[in-house]
């Protein structure tokens, strides 16, 4: 897989990271280096090997359906740059 400048621009946009136009070629090249490195894994034969989903010999823990948390809106909002009447306030986002 090869990442061109257009793809690098798109990935940056999807990640909401601003990348100046003149930085894009270098970014695309870095992506390609990283992907190339990872693609070495494809050389390993994994026929008949079950995919490993976790490094710990554990199963997914489940909890009971009981309300044990919440009820602290002031804490939830305490880091918000702008909060009004109990809501987070953000620049208008409307269709």
């Amino acid at each position: 897989m090869s990442i061109d400048i257009e793809t690098a621009r798109k990935v940056a946009h999807l990640a909401r990271i601003r990348v100046e136009e003149d930085r894009l070629p270098a970014l695309a090249a870095e992506f390609n280096d990283i992907l190339g490195f990872i693609e070495q894994l494809n050389e390993v034969n994994v026929d008949d090997i079950e995919p490993m989903t976790s490094v710990t010999p554990m199963r997914l823990k489940r909890r009971e359906d009981v309300v044990t948390d919440g009820g602290y809106p002031e804490k939830v909002l305490s880091n918000a740059p702008d909060a009004r009447v109990g809501f987070f306030a953000v620049p208008k986002v409307v269709e």
Binding site: L60, G71, P73, K75, V85
Partner: protein, 504 residues
């Protein structure tokens, strides 16, 4: 046990374009909120209508270092729903991250199940009338988190975000494109809602957003859909558009109709339908493109590293299955078979689970048809007039059953029974006691009826002569006697005695 009454498929809806006829093909994604106390991955409450941001745990607010722990009950409800839709249950499923940025999604991703959903293929039989139903195949059901709520009209420059709904468990129920018209689409949502309410896995409250639908609409020429069904090759179908986030049956129908007509006009004009997400505007009655959504459509799904795969045991699934209630299709079939009801009446009585339970208590040990008539015509009619639903009925099933028992035993006439029902509805009380206290019992004593008939005959000699010439006039005497006895005389006995006394 009969799963469903026999049925035939309905005809697909057809729309006449300017040049030719078109058919509709519709698939749906219904988001049903799991009726749990706490959220899918946090211990915060799911209660609707709480103060903004009070039902929020740090997990929901995506504070650094917080980890999700799955709610066992939500898993159980997804399995229950799957079983209720006769679907295959996947003992191994897994969670993925669906990445996008929006202010009401603090994590920057929604935890969902793209690659390995908990429920696989099932079906819903959508009733379209007695003997007519559409079998809609279910592709999958997966568990996922709901997003928060943005409010745009509180400030001219700002949007306000409430995270109370963030992280609430949703079941996304995905259908195959088997729905063939706007009415079928509404009926499908209604049937799903009915099944979910029977199962108790979702309260089905569309106004509060517990049940919302995304509708995929495409149009095709007659015959194309049949070719798709034979081959399961989507190239036989038209390009689809997805109408997002509908929570009203009326709007779903209007939006589909409008969208189909828009696509037909486009195609007949030599244009092409572009696959996109659209929004229905009920004020203007039209759909429009949601361009911003298109841009963000690259969700870059990947397995959620915070959650191990969800593994459940067959024994557990079997135990859930054993505990399933009787579902609408089976209940309806049983009402037809055991109580001799028409399919229509059985459909009305099973539409709502509470109403079905109510009817069963009324009908138990009594005449099922009579009970059905009373529940549907008298009780439902009266409740509707008061704006009550069945759970708010002032007449309980024992009281209504008591009235029906009195009719069955011949103790009161049908006419008096209606008066009695009104008394019980407005004043309450035991029907059997009321009829005695207020002297409403039917007079079956022929002596008393004869005396009343004699009185009417003696008082109206001219009418007697007329009736003898024209036997049809006997009805007038019957009416007079009923009036004289306050409607309590047994009408059949009065008829016979009048005829005998007049020598007819």
């Amino acid at each position: 046990m009969l799963d469903h009454l026999a049925f035939e498929s309905p005809k697909p809806a057809r729309i006449a374009g300017a040049k030719e006829d078109w058919e509709l093909v519709i698939g749906m994604e219904v988001h049903a909120q799991v009726s749990s106390n706490a959220k899918l991955f946090s211990g915060a409450s799911t209660r609707f209508g709480a103060e903004p941001n009070s039902n929020v745990a740090f997990v929901d607010a995506a504070m650094p270092g917080m980890l999700p722990v799955i709610n066992d009950y939500c898993v159980e409800q997804a399995v229950r729903t799957g079983l209720g839709l006769r679907a295959e249950i996947n003992l191994w499923s897994a969670f993925d991250r669906k990445n996008y940025f929006y202010p009401d999604l603090p994590q920057g991703y929604q935890i969902s199940q793209l690659y390995h959903p908990i429920v696989g293929e099932g079906e819903v039989i959508v009733d379209m009338g007695p003997g007519v139903a559409r079998r809609v195949r279910i592709e999958r059901i997966h568990l996922e988190q709901d997003a928060g709520k943005s409010i745009h009209d509180m400030d001219p420059a700002m949007s306000f975000v409430d995270l109370n709904r963030t992280g609430v468990a949703l079941m996304e129920i995905v259908s195959r494109p088997d729905i063939r018209g706007p009415e079928e689409a509404a009926a499908y949502v209604q049937k799903l809602r009915q099944i979910l309410r029977y199962l108790g896995t979702c309260d089905g409250n569309m106004q509060e957003g517990s049940l919302r639908a995304d509708v995929n609409v495409s149009v095709c020429r007659p015959g194309a859909y049949e070719r798709y069904m034979e081959t399961q090759d989507f190239s036989h179908l038209g390009t689809r558009c997805e109408i997002k986030n509908m929570n009203s049956l009326r709007f779903i129908q209007a939006a589909i109709d409008h969208e189909a007509r828009r696509q037909i006009a486009l195609l007949e004009d030599g244009g092409a339908v572009v696959q996109e997400t659209r929004l229905y505007d009920p004020d203007k009655g039209e759909t429009r493109s949601m361009r911003s959504k298109e841009e963000a459509h690259d969700y870059r799904y990947f397995p959620c590293p915070d959650l191990l795969p969800l593994e459940i045991e067959q024994d557990w699934v079997d135990a859930i299955k054993a505990g399933l209630p009787e579902l609408p299709d089976e209940k309806k079939a049983r009402f037809v078979k055991d109580f001799g009801l028409s399919e229509y009446d059985a459909g009305v009585l099973t539409a709502d689970v509470e109403a079905a339970h109510y009817f069963e208590r009324v009908a138990e040990g009594r005449d099922g048809k009579l009970a059905a008539n009373w529940v549907i015509n008298e009780l439902f009619g009266r409740l509707k007039k008061e704006g009550h639903d069945i759970t708010e009925s002032p007449v309980d099933p024992d009281q209504l059953g008591g009235i029906i028992a009195l009719i069955q035993n011949g103790e009161i006439s049908g006419k008096i029974a209606k008066d009695l029902f009104e008394i019980v509805f407005t004043e309450g009380g035991d029907p059997a006691v009321i009829v005695v206290e207020r002297g409403m019992k039917q007079v079956t004593d022929t002596g008393a009826i004869e005396a009343a008939v004699d009185e009417v005959i003696a008082a109206n000699p001219a009418q007697v002569e007329k009736a003898k010439a024209n036997p049809k006039l006997a009805g007038w005497f019957v009416g007079q006697v009923m009036k004289a006895t306050g409607g309590k005389a047994n009408p059949k006995a009065v008829n016979e005695i009048v005829a005998k006394k007049l020598g007819l």
